[in-house]
Amino acid sequence: MAEITIRNLTKNFGKFSAIDELDLTIADKEFVSLLGPSGCGKTTTLRILSGLEEPTIGEVLFDGKVMSSAETGEWVPPEKRGIGLVFQSYALWPHMTVWDNIDFGLEMQNVPKEKRKKLIEDILVLLQIEELSQRYSYQLSGGQQQRVALARSIVLQPQVLLLDEPLSNLDARLRIEMRAELTRLHSQLQNTTVFVTHDQLEAMTLSTRVAVMKDGKLQQYAPPMEIYRQPANLFVAKFVGSPPINVLSRTESPNIFKDIDAVLKGSIKGEYDFVAFRPEFCTIVSKQESAKEDIFYLDAEVTSIQPTGPEWIVQLSRDSLKFLVRLEREPIKMVIGDKVKLAVERKDILVFSKDELLITTRKTT
């Protein structure tokens, strides 16, 4: 089990910068997600951690020992790092059975034969794939292949476990099942785990901390709920949360901002150009309802009403802007086309500067 230190990590492919000055420390036994859209550098970071790629600038250390260093050119090869890596495509060896796939690593590490048998049997039980041991990869379903890929990497008891979007090839139900599985495994085995994903729900539910990345740069590194409630910038606010957060910009909607300024008056230090509020903090009131203090109202028209089972998602629009509201109980009587008012409490409004950074110093009155 190991602490991972990433220092000043930069990776360039020609002129293109895949990772830009990344500094990150992952504590022992943590489960950290690297979250971001495609091309944000998360997979490249993972590959540098594994040793399959090398940094252009910066270094990577496990428990204080240098694994890769751009300055000295030092590089510990993947097979000597004590890591487990699960690829997005699983990369099971097609000409070997499940048993042989798991056995291969043990053989490479010169583990004695009797011990190997026991280890493999245990891992098969742990991942609930005992009946599959003699099958070939093409005879397995996606979920089964993924368990085998996991088994193959865990059986070597790695100090660091690296997972590259392991759930993205699974259907929705299986994904939920495997998420629980990963959590169970992590609590039992306690490896330091780095998990790459573009699915914010996965990152939120699995991690002790989430590192949000965009265009190679770290946007925020914090526990999930902090990311959700106190997003460091507008990108993080928009990326995390489903349905996505509602955003208003001063330059696009100067008239609406007059109302916002009135509600937020005096409580914000400095200038701000963006506000955002989560759908679950919104309510819908009829046009006639009287204005209460410290509540921001927005006139809008109902454009869709979607019952999802446990709740309703209502879409409102104003000019060319669209807003989503999440309601737990039956909304006020309305049909598509009705003119209503969206209502949000001042304390639930997130405020961002011109540079899209969260303004945290607020007077809460």
Binding site: T72, E74, L85, L92, W93, F104, G105, M108
Partner: protein, 607 residues
Amino acid sequence: MYRSNYSQTGRLALRARHRLTRLKYNPTPILTAVIVILLVYLVVGPLLSILVEGFVVHSRDAARIGLAKGSFTTHYLKRIFVSPVSKVFFWNPLVRTLITSLFIVVGAVGLGFILAWLLVRSDCPGKNFFSKVLVLSYVAPSWTFALAWTTIFKNRRVAGSLGLLESLGFVPPDWIAYGGFPIVVTLVLGYFPLAFLLFGGALQTVDAQLEESAMVVGAPKSIILRRIVLPMLLPALMSSGLLILSRSLGSFGTPYILGSPTDYQVLATSLHGALNRGEQGVAGILTVFIVLVGVAAVSIDIFFVKEARRFVTISGKGGKKTMVQLGKLKPVAFIFVLFIFLASVVLPLMALFLSTITHRVGVFTKDNFTLQYWLAKSISSLGGRGGVFRDPTILKAALNSLYVAITSALIAGVFGTFIGYVTTKYQSTKMGSFLKQISFIPWLVPTIGFGAAYLSLFAVRRGPIPSLYGSVSLIILAMAIKYLPFSARAGTSAMIQLGPEPEESAMISGATWMKSFRRIVVPVLKKTLAVGIVLPFVMGMKELTLVIFLVSPGFEVLTTQVLRYIDYGFTPMANAVTVVIILVISAVYLVFQKVTGTSLVEGLSSS
């Protein structure tokens, strides 16, 4: 940014040391360097060598030209293009090459298209059977048809046994027996399977839904054919046309057999003549010319295929095909297809075989049959030589053929697989495309030019590399490199399919590069390797054009032996040896298909 602990030189030294460490864990760069050196010398080297030969004074011409041996000269260039003999050496053969190639391309592509359409898109009876057997002719050497033609249509211009028509009392005129007409007909029959396969493939992938969408908006069948189907077939049309053009440019055996009696020269035979006369300078220029035209043709084709990528349907399912109902034309279509089958597969083989067991072909009386050409110890009409199974020359040639074909196949297969492996590692980089292109060149170059180029490079000692003139190694080497593109491409696509991750997984699990290569890469590539070996073997067994310059009196192979028999006028013997070659290849083909379940035919004619 943080402070460094090392001095400038300290850092450089550390980096150098660590760089070497990487090679220990992953020797791919070393492997690549070796491959690059080999490829440059063995692929580009010969071509450069023969290019130089065309512009450098050779010792026998030094006095005549008035320049020292080895100095630069345009003498040969002038000799080819503007001298009094240029008509004989170059212009007439060029015109004849162009005319025959034009007719061959039009004929083969047209025939291929008609057959493909009939057998894929209409309800012609016997579709499945004909689809399989029509490509069989491609398994035989390309000059099989020429031999069969001679057997049937020869006249007294060529001494020796009587032709079929002659035995029946008809003497074919020269223009039917030899020259442009039979060359065109035989090569059309020989090459149409290529067009047939390409069009067949294209017709099958043209998504039925594309046509159905047009039907739904009201387009009549004729418009659909003209505006939807035909344009989508354009790439197959261009592809097959240009490939057949390149093949016919480099083809030697057929024009030699059918052209020599009436001195009908094409560029390939002119080149052969030049080298036989020892005119290396002239041969050099001719080769360069042939190579340039051939490479240009294939490059245009590749360009068009790239363009045509946009025609590839993105959707997943192929969809059911709507068959064209032939109705009253059904019997006509059937007879047509049957006729082509008979003419391209049955008749040639029968003619060949019959001529080997009869005194006079076509006469079916009991006393006319003989097994002498196969079993006799000594045949008087052949100057005392023995039959195929008794003549030690043939046995020796057969062993030589096998030896050469197997060895070059193994080299091509293994080398090609390694090239495929390395190319994939450098996939989207300059090194990757360099490797791809250079390993593809042998395929682009017309075979006759390739053979001449190899002779040129290895005829004399160059630095540490000895002369291979007249040796078996030269033949093996030339063949191995000529067929390299097949194995390299097979290796590349197999590696791309596998992906880098199985190897990376193995390394993460603790395997060294060597262990990972042996236990993960090689087992997965086994099937590809097999094809990469068997395919060159089959091609090597029937190769004539490449080896014609490289064999020596002491070392003949079956195919060149056939040519010797033609030169002596011993047609039945030539045919018998050809039959043997065809049988050996067919046996290998069938066994391979049984054992691995893959068809070699697609590979043989693949572009």
